[in-house]
C-alpha cells in the first residue's frame, strides 16, 4: 500500500519536473471575462501593472493584482514585465509618492485561485498567473498579439 502511494507520488513529481523542464514557464495575463479588452501592448500592460496607467482603453479603472513577492509568478514578472528587481520596484513606488504622482500599486493576493477569483469578479482587474493555472473563469489577454504558447510570446 505504502509503496504504491510512493510510486504514484514519485511518478507525479517526475511528470511535473519533466513538464517544467521541457517547457519554459509562461505568464498568462488574465482579465475579467466580460468587461476588459482582449488585447494589449506589452508597454501598455507594463504601465497598467506598474500603476502608471489608471484606465483601460474603454475607460474602466485598472485594478492590478499580483501574487506575493516570493512566488515564481512574481519572479517571472519582474524579469519579463517589470524589467527591474524588487529593490528597484520598491524605490520606484516610493519615488512616485515622493514626487506627488498618482500611481496605483498592484495589490498582493495570496494564491493563484484567489487572484483568478478577484479578476473574475472585478471588471477592470488585471493580474498574471502561470499559463498552466488559467481556467475558464477569466480571459487571457493577448500581449502584442500573442497568447501563451504562441511563438514569440514575450512573457516567458
Amino acid at each position: 500500500m505504502k509503496s504504491l502511494v510512493l510510486i504514484a507520488l514519485s511518478a507525479l513529481a517526475g511528470s511535473c519536473l519533466c513538464s517544467a523542464a521541457d517547457e519554459p514557464a509562461e505568464l498568462a495575463v488574465i482579465v475579467n471575462k466580460l468587461q476588459a479588452p482582449a488585447t494589449a501592448d506589452l508597454a501598455e500592460l507594463r504601465q497598467m501593472i506598474l500603476g502608471e496607467r489608471l484606465k483601460w482603453r474603454n475607460g474602466e479603472a485598472v485594478v492590478a493584482v499580483q501574487l506575493p513577492q516570493d512566488s515564481p509568478e512574481r519572479a517571472l514578472a519582474m524579469k519579463t514585465l517589470f524589467r527591474m528587481n524588487d529593490a528597484a520596484l520598491r524605490r520606484y513606488y516610493m519615488l512616485a509618492v515622493f514626487n506627488g504622482k498618482e500611481v496605483a500599486q498592484p495589490r498582493d493576493v495570496p494564491t493563484a485561485a484567489a487572484l483568478k477569483k478577484f479578476v473574475a469578479s472585478n471588471p477592470g482587474a488585471v493580474g498574471y498567473v502561470l499559463a498552466s493555472e488559467v481556467d475558464d473563469s477569466v480571459k487571457v489577454l493577448k500581449v502584442d498579439g500573442a497568447s501563451p504558447g504562441d511563438p514569440g510570446y514575450k512573457l516567458r
Partner: protein, 448 residues
C-alpha cells in the same frame, strides 16, 4: 484529477508488469485502488476547501456578484492585502472618529567629509580665492555632518483631492538646525489629463530638481549637482516656486507618453541677498513667474524620459524689501534633459541656460550650466561618475554664484540594506581664478 488517474494507471501498469516476477509484496486488488482513489479525492476536496478559504481574504474577495463599478472602487479603497503598499506610502495614522489618513515617511543622511570641497554639492561654495586652503566659510578639515532630516507627509482628502507636505530640518555652516517647509501642495486631480496644485512646489526645471529634490536616499550620488543648489545655498536657479501648477498627460499620445506642466508663481525675490529668496508670503512685484514644461516617456523604451522647460520672470531689484540699485530685469531659463534608467544602467544629462536681461539694454547676461551622470549597478554596488559645469556670468547683476565651476565626481553607492545606502564620493572641482579643490565624502542615507 485526470493527471492523478493517469499516474495511478501508469503506476498500476508498472506494478502489473512486475507482477510476473517473484515478489513478497501482497497483490494489489481493485479494492485497494478504489480506496486510494477515495483518499486522493478527499485530499483534493480538502485542498479546494483551503484554497477557497484563502480566496475569501477580505481584501481580495469582493461581495458575491457586486455591481461592476462598485466592485472596482471597493477594490481600490479596500485596505492593502500586503504591507508592500504601505511601504511605499509610508507609516500612516488615523485619528479615531474618521477623517483623512496621514502617511508619513522620513529620510535622513549622515556624512563624513574631508578636504576643501568634501561636500560642495550641499553647502555654499565660497572659497575667497585661497584655492586648496579651502574657504572662510567651510575651511578644509575633516568633519562629521548631519544631512537633511526630511519628513514627507501625504494625505488623500477625497478621490480627487490630496495633500503633500515636506518638512526638512537641517544644519548649515552656522551649525544651527533650521526647519524648512520645503513643499506644501494641495492637488486636485480631475483625471489623468488635468490636475492642479496650489502651494509651494519644486519648479519643473529639468529632471533632477523634481525627481531628487530632497531625500538623499533616492539619488545615486551623495549630493546635488551645483546647478541645482538650493536658493539659500548660493544656487541661482529658482528651484522652488510658490503659486499654482497645472499638469497632465496629453490625450491620445499613449505611445509617446507626452506630459505637460504649466506653473505660475511668485518667482524669487528681486534681491538675491534677501534672507529668504523664495517669496512664501510677500511678493516684491506684481510680475509673476511662469514656467512651461513638457516631457515624453515613450512606450517603446521603458525608462527613457526626454523633456524641456521654459521659465520667464521679471525682477525689479529697486522695489525689493531691501532695494538694490539694479534696473528691472527679465529672466529666461531654458532647460533640456535626457534620462534613462534600466535595471542596470542609469544615465542623466541636463543642460540649463539662464539669461538675465536688463530692461532697456541690449544683450543678456547668460549663464550656462550642465551635468552628466552615469551609473552601473552590480547587485548592491553601483559605481557612478558625474561631470558638471556651471558658468555664472561674473557680470550678472543678481546671480550669487559668480564664476566658473567644473569638474568630475566619482563614487560608489552600496545598498547594504533594503532602505539604506552607503555612498563614497570623491570630488575634484576647478574654480575660476582659484586652485582646484578636492574632497572626499562618505554618506549613509536611508529612509524610515
Amino acid at each position: 484529477m485526470k493527471a492523478v488517474l493517469l499516474v495511478l494507471t501508469l503506476a498500476w501498469a508498472s506494478v502489473t508488469v512486475k507482477a510476473g516476477e517473484p515478489s513478497d509484496q501482497p497483490p494489489v486488488t481493485q479494492a485497494t485502488i478504489d480506496k486510494l482513489l477515495a483518499v486522493i479525492a478527499a485530499h483534493e476536496a480538502r485542498i479546494e476547501q483551503l484554497e477557497k478559504k484563502l480566496g475569501e481574504t477580505p481584501s481580495v474577495a469582493p461581495d458575491p456578484a457586486p455591481p461592476a463599478t462598485s466592485a472596482a472602487s471597493q477594490a481600490l479603497s479596500s485596505p492593502p492585502a500586503q504591507p508592500q503598499e504601505s511601504a511605499s506610502t509610508g507609516h500612516n495614522m488615523a485619528i479615531p472618529g474618521g477623517g483623512p489618513i496621514l502617511n508619513i515617511r522620513g529620510f535622513f543622511d549622515f556624512n563624513f567629509g574631508t578636504g576643501s570641497i568634501a561636500n560642495p554639492l550641499v553647502f555654499p561654495i565660497i572659497d575667497n580665492g585661497c584655492g586648496t586652503c579651502g574657504n572662510s566659510v567651510t575651511p578644509p578639515h575633516s568633519t562629521f555632518q548631519a544631512g537633511e532630516f526630511d519628513l514627507l507627509m501625504t494625505s488623500k482628502l477625497s478621490d480627487h483631492l490630496s495633500f503633500l507636505a515636506e518638512i526638512v530640518l537641517g544644519p548649515d555652516d552656522t551649525n544651527v538646525f533650521g526647519p524648512d517647509i520645503e513643499r506644501y501642495q494641495l492637488t486636485y486631480r480631475a483625471n489623468p489629463y488635468f490636475s492642479v496644485s496650489a502651494g509651494r512646489f519644486h519648479t519643473s526645471i529639468g529632471y533632477y530638481n523634481t525627481a531628487y529634490h530632497h531625500g538623499n536616499w533616492f539619488s545615486t550620488a551623495e549630493g546635488r549637482p551645483i546647478m541645482y543648489l538650493f536658493e539659500d545655498s548660493g544656487g541661482i536657479l529658482p528651484v522652488h516656486m510658490v503659486g499654482v501648477s497645472f499638469a497632465g498627460d496629453v490625450p491620445h499620445t499613449d505611445k509617446l507618453g507626452l506630459h505637460w506642466i504649466a506653473e505660475v508663481g511668485n518667482g524669487l525675490s528681486s534681491n538675491p541677498f534677501a534672507s529668504e529668496s523664495v517669496q512664501n508670503f510677500y511678493s516684491d512685484r506684481n510680475y509673476k513667474a511662469t514656467n512651461l514644461a513638457a516631457y515624453i516617456k515613450p512606450q517603446f523604451l521603458p525608462g527613457l524620459q526626454i523633456g524641456g522647460s521654459w521659465y520667464h520672470d521679471g525682477l525689479n531689484p529697486t522695489q525689493a524689501q531691501n532695494p538694490l540699485p539694479v534696473p528691472p530685469l527679465r529672466q529666461n531659463i531654458e532647460s533640456a534633459y535626457v534620462v534613462f534608467f534600466s535595471p542596470d544602467w542609469e544615465f542623466m544629462t541636463e543642460a540649463v541656460l539662464l539669461s538675465n536681461r536688463v530692461m532697456g539694454a541690449s544683450g543678456s547676461f547668460r549663464s550656462p550650466m550642465a551635468y552628466t551622470q552615469i551609473a552601473r549597478g552590480f547587485g548592491i554596488y553601483k559605481p557612478y561618475f558625474r561631470y558638471q559645469y556651471v558658468r555664472d556670468n561674473p557680470q550678472d547683476p543678481v546671480n550669487l554664484l559668480k564664476g566658473t565651476y567644473y569638474g568630475p565626481s566619482i563614487g560608489m553607492r552600496i545598498d547594504f540594506a533594503t532602505y539604506a545606502a552607503f555612498k563614497l564620493q570623491f570630488n575634484h572641482l576647478y574654480q575660476s581664478s582659484q586652485l582646484a579643490g578636492n574632497g572626499l565624502d562618505a554618506q549613509v542615507a536611508f529612509t524610515f
